[in-house]
Amino acid sequence: MAGAVTYYAGRAPERGLAVYTQKVGMWVFLASEVMFFTSLIGSYIILRFGASETWPLPGEVLNIPITAINTFILICSSVTMVKAFAAAEVGDKRGTRLFTLATALIGSTFLGVQILEYRELLHEGFGPSSGLYGSTFYTMTGFHGFHVFSGVCCLFWASWKAFRGGYDNRAYKGLEVLGLYWHFVDLVWIILFTVVYLI
């Protein structure tokens, strides 16, 4: 509610999870995201086991080295995300600006590489209708990409806010909550990279 309203009249509400509400909300939301990706990854596993003899081996269709580098890039963005939050927490506005923008740019790089990968694959005639392999590959990586894209949009918005001095050692919650989401998206990619590209 609006800042001027002190509803609990100076009293703390009943003790909840001992973390602030936005953070609880993000954790709860991420639980539903876990279930969403579980449905996609679980379907992938079932479909693949059902057709294991026709399933291409790792590296037959997909370019593993490029995606491995891309994975490394995405992990780097998690590091800069932590740095941005750490800088905001101690009130280092220059660091906050720098690292938030860096995270946004690295996230965009990941997306760019993914788009190039898609273009290459489509050019080779491997599309979403190319059997179960194509169906699952594009659905899973596509939805992950959509999540990265949403995160990048928020990160550019956060960078804009950081450049206007919006984050300091009293106001860093937004950055922390965004960071939670970003690390989650990163973690999902590590799982996807493993099950789709490596195994």
Partner: protein
């Protein structure tokens, strides 16, 4: 020491007066009470729409091939000469289920009452994220509009049943419905998003926004039920969304998830759908159990019997609800060993359900019963839920389920739990909380007539369906004639249909009562039912921000007929213990 003074329990709320524009106040409002009421109108509209579809289905079953009354209003593609086509019948069955389950009952239970009651009952000024809450309503509206509009597109609305089993639903060339099926998917993906946004809010609010003194074991059972329901929705809805997206891709961009010709697995759809679908069943009943517990305590003037057991039963139903989805698939060719494990886990749910039922009886036992309309509906809920629950145990048993699979026995069961259970709970809740929502009382006499007729016609409609199912009447059957084993049943279809019209008309009594009371009902006091929970300790309807002074909670949620209170039979949760007059000094 005979009087109880309503002493302020908290310091006054500091409020900055600000006027909101009409649009921010009533349309794009972030106030949880307005959002709850918006959901109420939306979902009652869909309850009516779903009911009308049911009437058309019933007409076809009783008098197959006869022109419907007003049937000439339908275009050639639906009902030429007023006689409905089989394709249109399939759409009716599908959309009746979709409207009732997703847009009427689910929105009534969760959209309306979770929004309206959670902040009021835990003593919070609003939800944790009011704007996300507003978004959850404004995502549900286009979802409903898309579902309605699908009747008008070429090929008609989705016709593969509310479960939309693949490959039928994934192959437009087989079902004859292409765009309608896709609109159905988009609509439910949007509704799922609305539900996830809402659930995030409800869970966070209950965890972190409780008033001082509102410990977990002082939460009213309604809040407990809605909280557990939100967790179920949060974890099951995304699975449906994932499955829906795969189904949409199968239809639009040529993927092969559920199409066996290309190596896809139709059974995968069933697993994903029921992994969502079974928790969904509990999403549709747990809140009604919460309302019932609270209203039975109020009408019996006794605390809820076994409060802790009630909470434990809610939690264990929710946990078990994720482990039983296979009991919808006994007929799918699954390994009998697996079927046995699903059978056992399903039957275990009978234990917490029975705990709840006996606790409701324990609550009423030797109570000072007040048969107001909400109480009547709550008692009706318990009775009909028991019948629906018992037929559920029949179906949990794989050998018996294989016999009655896809017959009217299933239809009877689902209506006993969803209409006799959920909808009776909803009616109880609407009669009970209407005064708080709109500041006016509903008409008691009309309410009692509504209850009596609904209870009578409900049983006349759905009880014979058990027998029909055992006699082999198939679910979703368009034409009842031409089957030797169904010939003797035709008169029961006529009986059911006539009773169904009666049921619909008694629902109209509710609509009249609702609309009339909205404008002409007598003004409601703050606490018309002498109830104990926090929402009754603030004016009806509550102001923006809910409280004049911050409630501080000292007591459990349902302290009726407290032995230490002398002159009244209820003790509000926020009454200060040093002010309450002791009966035994």
């Amino acid at each position: 020491m005979a009087t109880i003074v309503a002493e302020p329990t908290g310091r006054p709320v500091v409020r900055e007066p600000h006027e909101l524009s009409f649009i921010r106040k009533y349309i794009f409002s972030s106030d949880h009470k307005v959002i709850g009421i918006q959901f109420l109108f939306l979902s009652l509209f869909f309850l009516l729409a779903g009911g009308l579809l049911a009437m058309m289905i019933r007409w076809q079953l009783a008098w197959p091939g006869q022109p419907m009354p007003l049937g000439s209003l339908f275009p050639e593609t639906m009902a030429p000469d007023g006689i409905m086509l089989p394709e249109f019948y399939n759409s009716l069955v599908t959309m009746h289920g979709t409207f009732m389950i997703f847009f009427a009952v689910m929105l009534l239970l969760v959209g309306v009452f979770a929004n309206y009651l959670i902040p009021l009952q835990i003593g919070a000024p609003d939800m944790a994220f009011p704007r996300i809450n507003m978004a959850s309503f404004w995502v549900a509206v286009p979802a409903g509009l898309i579902a309605l509009a699908s009747f008008l597109v070429e090929g008609g609305a989705a016709g593969a049943g509310w479960t939309s089993y693949a490959p039928l639903s994934a192959m437009p060339e087989a079902s004859g419905v292409s765009l309608g099926q896709q609109m159905w998917i988009v609509s439910l993906v949007l509704l799922g998003l609305s539900s996830i946004l809402g659930s995030t809010n409800y869970i966070t609010t209950v965890i972190n926004m409780r008033a001082p003194g509102m410990t977990w074991m002082r939460l009213p059972l309604t809040v407990w039920a809605l909280f557990i329901t939100a967790i179920l929705a949060l974890l099951s809805m995304p699975v449906l969304t994932g499955a829906m997206i795969m189904l949409l891709f199968d239809q639009t961009i040529g993927t092969h998830f559920f199409l066996p010709a290309e190596g896809g697995q139709p059974l995968l759809w069933q697993h994903l759908f029921w992994f969502f679908g079974h928790p969904e069943v509990y999403i549709l009943i747990l809140p009604a159990m919460g309302f019932t517990s609270e209203i039975l305590a109020n009408g019996s003037r006794k605390p809820v019997f076994g409060y802790h057991a009630m909470v434990g039963a809610l939690v264990s139903i929710a946990v078990l609800g994720f482990m039983v989805w296979g009991h919808h698939m006994f007929q799918s060719g699954m390994n009998p060993l697996l079927a046995t494990s699903f059978m056992v886990s399903t039957m275990v749910i009978a234990v917490p359900s029975a705990i709840k039922t006996f606790n409701w009886m324990g609550t009423m036992w030797r109570g000072n019963l007040h048969f107001h309309t909400p109480m009547l509906f709550a008692i009706g809920f318990v009775m009909l839920f028991v019948i629906g629950g018992l037929s559920g145990i029949f179906m949990a048993s794989a050998p018996f389920d294989i016999f009655i699979h896809d017959t009217y026995f299933i239809v009877a069961h689902i209506h006993y739990v969803l209409f006799g259970g959920a909808l009776f709970g909803i009616f109880a809740a609407i009669y009970y909380w209407f005064p708080k929502m709109f500041g006016r009382m509903m008409n008691e006499k009309l309410g009692k007539v509504h209850f009596a007729l609904t209870f009578l016609f409900f049983n006349l409609v759905f009880f014979p369906m058990h027998t029909q199912g055992l006699a082999g009447m198939m679910r979703r059957l368009y034409q009842t004639t031409g089957y030797e084993h169904l010939e003797g049943l035709q008169w029961t279809h006529v009986l059911i249909t006539i009773s169904a019209f009666g049921l619909f008309l008694s629902g109209m009594l509710f609509a009249v009562n609702f609309a009339w009371s909205l404008f002409r009902g007598p003004k409601a006091p703050a606490n018309p039912w002498n109830a104990t929970t926090l929402e009754w300790q603030t004016p009806s309807p509550p102001m923006h921000g809910n409280w004049e002074e911050v409630p501080v909670v000292y007591h459990g949620p349902h302290e009726y007929s407290h032995p230490d209170v002398a002159d009244k039979d209820w003790l509000a949760q926020n009454e200060r213990p040093d002010v309450v007059s002791p009966a035994r000094p």
